[in-house]
Symmetry: C2
Subunit: 478 residues, 2 copies
Amino acid sequence: MAKDKKMVEAITSMDEDFAQWYTDVVIKAGLTGYTSVKGCMVIKPAGFAIWENIQKELDRRFKETGVENVSMPLFIPESLLQKEKDHVEGFAPEVAWVTHGGLEPLQERLCVRPTSETLFCDFYANEIQSYRDLPRNYNQWCSVVRWEKTTRPFLRSREFLWQEGHTAHATAEESQERTELMLHVYADFVEEELAIPVVRGRKTDKEKFAGAEATYTIEALMHDGKALQSGTSHNFGDGFARAFNIQYTDKNNELQYVHQTSWGLSTRIIGAIIMVHGDNNGLVLPPRIAPTQIMIIPIRQQEEKVQEKVEEIRSRLAKDFSVKVDMSDKTPGWKFSEQEMKGIPVRIEIGPKDIDANQCVVVRRDNGEKITVSLDEVEKRLGEILEQEQNDMFAKAKAHLEAHITDCTDYEDFKNTVETKPGFVRAMWCGDLDCEMKIKEDTGATSRCIPFKQEHLSDTCVCCGKKAKSLVYWGRAY
Amino acid sequence: MAKDKKMVEAITSMDEDFAQWYTDVVIKAGLTGYTSVKGCMVIKPAGFAIWENIQKELDRRFKETGVENVSMPLFIPESLLQKEKDHVEGFAPEVAWVTHGGLEPLQERLCVRPTSETLFCDFYANEIQSYRDLPRNYNQWCSVVRWEKTTRPFLRSREFLWQEGHTAHATAEESQERTELMLHVYADFVEEELAIPVVRGRKTDKEKFAGAEATYTIEALMHDGKALQSGTSHNFGDGFARAFNIQYTDKNNELQYVHQTSWGLSTRIIGAIIMVHGDNNGLVLPPRIAPTQIMIIPIRQQEEKVQEKVEEIRSRLAKDFSVKVDMSDKTPGWKFSEQEMKGIPVRIEIGPKDIDANQCVVVRRDNGEKITVSLDEVEKRLGEILEQEQNDMFAKAKAHLEAHITDCTDYEDFKNTVETKPGFVRAMWCGDLDCEMKIKEDTGATSRCIPFKQEHLSDTCVCCGKKAKSLVYWGRAY
């Protein structure tokens, strides 16, 4: 693969220091930039274009299921935040408070939304009267604020971008259906578009969302063997509806509480893309989500023949792909390094000799494979190569995931595995909070999820030896 | 035109009480909804879908000029806001202050961005070193907060959605060019997509943006004859660059300050759409921006023949248009009223008799025209009808604008015109702040802009009689 000393040297090897490698990639690939606003992020064009592609495709998938977009206020009055007990307990310690508007103190302080359940409930309580007003499948794309102590770009920041869906339904069955539907929308999106395999399941009560009856999650495994919660979907039952008095008149003219859900996916997923696919040359973007899919790098670009052919190929490819040409005055080797650092899925190398032979060389970013392609069929072959790359990236990530799942039935083995082998540990659990707490204390691993696909590894809880209730994925996590 | 007593009665006539008519339309067309967060907005699906269409088309036009999207923090540390003197003076009285993060008071309070010049400057100061780093043409779609005392949906609210572009250039010429370019992007977009004619010009020093060298504006005229500032573009020169020390090394290896611009368009423009095109039956949306362009309303929808034909027509039209069918159990008359209230550009009425005659009836929202269309050419004819409606709406608004511009060369005449004839008054001005202040005090009219297209109405200032410098559009405004 192309090397350029100066650029490659600037990145820490992921095997030496994964955290530093991550920071280096984020900066060198131009995803985030400097800000003096502590704990907050500047997302630069290369990073934001990834988020735009995520938004576009996820929004399309939402709308296919009947979701509509809305915009809710940024602020939540303190009294509103306090209406649902578990919810306020979960969020109050980490919200930012607005106390002054203009030159005057506010009569009631407002928090900057950490999530918008209370705002949607306040709205739905006024909006929903009859069964005819249901369901409501609303979503918003916005930013939220949580006052984190330690922050890292994309993974944890005081403000982050996300979408939050908030739905209201006539029955408990419908809200359960919507909760699971959206989890699968997330899972399919992340697997198909981002080439990241996920484990789908339910959170334990300890790990569920503040105020939810049940939280479902997709869990991905990063290259370093740590888990990343990548999207969650919550069923609230009628808990919020009772706290906010959201009632409707049913067909028999009787008052009923609505049943609600919420679900969110954030810019955190960009952290997952980096940590699942990246390598020591930088970012590696899956073709389906890459803002630029093809970078054409001319050799001897000063020659008119090269310029003409490059422009011809660019314009042919631009019909089906997102393609750019690097005509800067850098050396080809430097351009190769930059294209690799930015994670652009393929580059096309083309010079006078290639043109004479009516061909170009396509280099895949994920595995460095060089493919000689006839210029007659450049559109068709690029389509095939990018599709193959997308599939191979998913297969590679899936193989990595599967190679990093260990089943344990014995607690010593469990502790030793968490300590020595990065990845998920699958083990049976009795369902008691005490065991969950003990495992976390002993190993640093938390319950990631109770997977939908249950298996029976043993009769007893890996921790306490009592009768086992469920198979659980455990792991250290971001 | 279709009437339905109950719905029509619910709207105040625009001639009786324009302000109440506006509020009624906003609510009855489902654009905004209830919130207990004072001065803030809930934008419901029908309203947000308009904004999504605005975003999509405007973003496309931005990107054609080389603009890239980014995301900047929501918060501005107080010390950062204070770096540019005019800017802080303009905005400090109306910002919301965050003083606590989680349970602890902040060391330095943060304001919620009222606009992001200071954040972009802070970023550019670190990002830009060489002439190779220029220009930077960045934009973000976000919400901003200004602590307004009196608020109205879309027109003035404490939080509103907008885009803000912030660019940095090597030379004063380039920043002037970009400032004007973006103003024309706004003007063309508003005229071509929203069918709203605008006056393009420069703001007086009194009316310009806090910290700008020059502010350019597009001014639209509402149905009631009041002006609405609909988009602005600012040239900062090197003022902010000096305050924030944003310097680059030029080709001669000398340090230079960058030159900057910013430009914004907000959800306020939705207020303009309502107030330019709306009528006593509700909202009227220009076809190019309408989330639903065609509503099919079946007559005798219980008949299988009708259902089949309606579905056939819907699926044929769905290839080129955004089309819906109203199959609810309401009467056709009720459905007509609803379609009119929501401003859907055309409805198609189709029943058994129409089907037998191989035709349907298309009713235009803007003028009530009924057009019989053969089912054989429904796609082609609908395309023509919608295009004609778009053009006619623009022509009608332009005629209204032109009929509400009065030229005055005498101050008594000027005062009388502002008082008795709604609209713009064109008059010559000496350029002195005193005259501008006096005119505002005497009449309530402010200088809307110094139009690009200058004319010579008289030799002297309409107010003081001194030598005139420029032609100015004056008017009462939202």
